[in-house]
């Protein structure tokens, strides 16, 4: 059998399945987040696409826009990394909504509490999605603790891009939206399995 090219591998059907995983994941995430912050949290079904790296940078405001990235590395049957991306203002606003302290004057600075809240929100969203993915692919996925970085979009995206760059110039891109007490925050995820795990996911989706 010919090795499947990673460039154009996902059909609309496969993306629908990945979207379904996203849908289950966000339902879990909304519940978990709502419990954590004791506020009403809703999340619409996310858009999922197999997207060129450059489009992801544009989605978060362009290659040099300063963004917040929360990264977990994955071990277990599915290895690689997953990242949650938010624009700087969204991250500060979420922290303000949850802990009630106004954003600092220097937006590049995050206080210890702010940082911890933002990492935890990212962590909940990532873990919820990964939980659904583990179920569907009958895999064990162990996420690391979350790591946060604040920098230019391209610089942050270079981390998953170089992981995925081994196979293709695209990433699995999941557009996310959180509403906390009816205030909307846009962000996105990228999922970057390593080559072996990539094929495991494909097999689970019925692709060979």
């Amino acid at each position: 059998m010919a090795k499947t090219s990673a460039e154009n591998i996902f059909s609309d059907d496969h993306l629908d399945i990945l979207k379904e995983i996203g849908s289950m994941g966000t339902a879990h995430a909304a519940t978990a987040l709502s419990t954590m912050v004791n506020k009403k949290v809703t999340m619409p079904v996310p858009n999922v696409s197999w997207t060129d790296f450059h489009n992801i940078a544009n989605f978060v405001g362009g290659p040099e826009n300063i963004i917040v990235g929360i990264l977990v590395s994955l071990s277990g049957n599915i290895q690689g990394m997953m990242m949650h991306l938010m624009e700087l203002d969204a991250a500060h606003n979420i922290a303000e909504l949850i802990i009630g302290t106004p954003p600092p004057k220097d937006k590049l600075n995050f206080g210890v509490m702010e940082r911890s809240v933002i990492e935890e929100v990212g962590n909940i969203m990532l873990s919820s999605y990964l939980g659904s993915l583990a179920g569907l692919t009958n895999s064990q996925i162990k996420p690391s603790i979350p790591y946060m970085s604040v920098d230019m979009a391209n610089a942050i995206l270079s981390v998953p891009a170089s992981e995925f760059g081994r196979m293709a110039d695209k990433m699995l891109f999941i557009e996310s939206q959180i509403s906390i007490e009816n205030v909307k925050f846009s962000g996105c995820f990228v999922l970057v399995p390593n080559l072996h795990s990539f094929y495991r996911i494909l097999r689970a989706l019925g692709v060979e």
């Binding site: 040099e64 230019m152 170089s162 293709a168």
Partner: protein, 164 residues
């Protein structure tokens, strides 16, 4: 980069070359390395934005600009077509940061270091002297390379501008 007519943007896993008064730029280098070459006599500059150290270790390697080894060969050839002499080329590099504070045992998470190491090794093999660098640390960098004089400008968030 807005506002500068002679500025050529080099994307990630991309490369380009230009003659004076051309300027090359690449935005937001993270773990990637920006390799700047220039020929001071012919005033020809070349810039590559590489993502990974070694094309031979990888199955999907058709994009030569993605890897330190193949990008450098291609970049030198492109500069020679613009009149540069290989023996006059000088190199400056930037990037190779570790963007997340991993306690990294996973080699993929320290790809920045490996990109820098590979770039230096290949420059040495090709006999191109590395005359300046700003690599490592944990922040992103945007760079500009001026074909006129080989000036290599580095911008990072909250750190001002440095010139190599």
């Amino acid at each position: 980069m807005p506002g500068k007519a002679n500025m050529i943007v080099v994307g990630m896993a991309d490369l380009n070359a230009t003659k004076s008064p051309g300027v090359l730029t690449t935005l937001g280098l993270g773990s990637c390395v920006g390799i700047a070459l220039y020929d001071p006599h012919m005033k020809v500059a070349g810039l590559a934005h590489i993502m990974l150290p070694d094309s031979k270790a990888i199955h999907n390697n058709s994009n030569h600009a993605k890897f330190a080894d193949t990008a450098l060969v291609k970049l030198v050839a492109q500069m020679e077509r613009l009149g540069a002499k290989r023996a006059s080329l000088k190199a400056k590099i930037a990037g190779g940061a570790q963007m997340f504070a991993f306690n990294a045992t996973n080699e993929n998470l320290r790809v920045g270091d490996r990109n820098v190491e590979a770039t230096k090794r290949i420059l040495k093999e090709m006999g191109i002297p590395l005359i300046a660098e700003e690599t490592g640390a944990s922040f992103g960098r945007t760079v500009e390379l001026y074909a006129e004089d080989g000036k290599f400008l580095i911008k990072a968030i909250g750190q001002g501008i440095r010139v190599l």
